[in-house]
């Protein structure tokens, strides 16, 4: 079974702190994603990575950066945490779509990190 793990289930940080959220997947997936989930807004894509050191901005990248130094690990960084970044953060991974591989569009999610910024 695919396993996606996130470094913390709950995290409390202070405004202005630099925050690192780590995500690790064990299925050799090329794609990795960071979402945030807020009531009434659903899931919104923050960043996407399709390979080591490659990244694409999602819908709401402001205030965030990412790092993908190894294929299995995708880190989300809040450079200077603010109260409006209090949210549930979800990491996901999926296989790269290629013509030679039957499409595997399914995303596999980690358990989420509930972040509170005070």
């Amino acid at each position: 079974d695919v396993k996606v793990t996130q470094s913390s289930r709950y995290l409390v940080k202070r405004t202005g702190e630099k925050v690192f959220l780590e995500c690790v997947q064990d299925m050799d997936h090329e794609n990795m994603f960071w979402y945030r989930q807020d009531p009434g807004l659903g899931l919104r894509l923050i960043y996407f990575s399709y390979d080591v050191k490659m990244k694409e901005k999602g819908d709401i990248p402001e205030g965030y950066s990412v790092s993908r130094e190894k294929k299995e690990r995708f880190s989300l960084i809040l450079e200077s945490a603010s109260t409006n970044q209090t949210s549930m953060y979800l990491c996901a991974s999926s296989l790269l779509l290629t013509s030679g591989r039957r499409a595997q569009e399914t995303q596999y999610f980690g358990p989420g990190t509930r972040l509170l910024v005070l």
């Binding site: 996606v4 794609n31 994603f33 009434g40 807004l41 659903g42 899931l43 894509l45 996407f48 399709y50 999602g58 549930m88 979800l90 996901a92 999926s94 790269l96 779509l97 499409a103 569009e105 399914t106 995303q107 596999y108 999610f109 980690g110 358990p111 989420g112 509930r114």
Partner: protein
Amino acid sequence: SQQGEEDPQALSIQEGENATMNCSYKTSINNLQWYRQNSGRGLVHLILIRSNEREKHSGRLRVTLDTSKKSSSLLITASRAADTASYFCATERGPGSEKLVFGKGTKLTVNP
């Protein structure tokens, strides 16, 4: 823009009843997926239906897809208290896109 929109936003039923959730989307798709999220947890993939399929079954789940109406429905038969969760539909952002767009979900409560 929001690709998938679920309806209703919330649904409360008794154990043993069937639950039907609907999803509408705006643009052409290659496939549509349904995910479940238990409270405070990550999403779990339930089923994927391709644009050339009209109906798909998985256990107590039945998914239909009507590409002419740009809509899909998820039916859970003989519901159980453990089915209590939020259910999301998801479609790809564009042809061949790796990224998905999720709806805001239907919150299902199954009362014992």
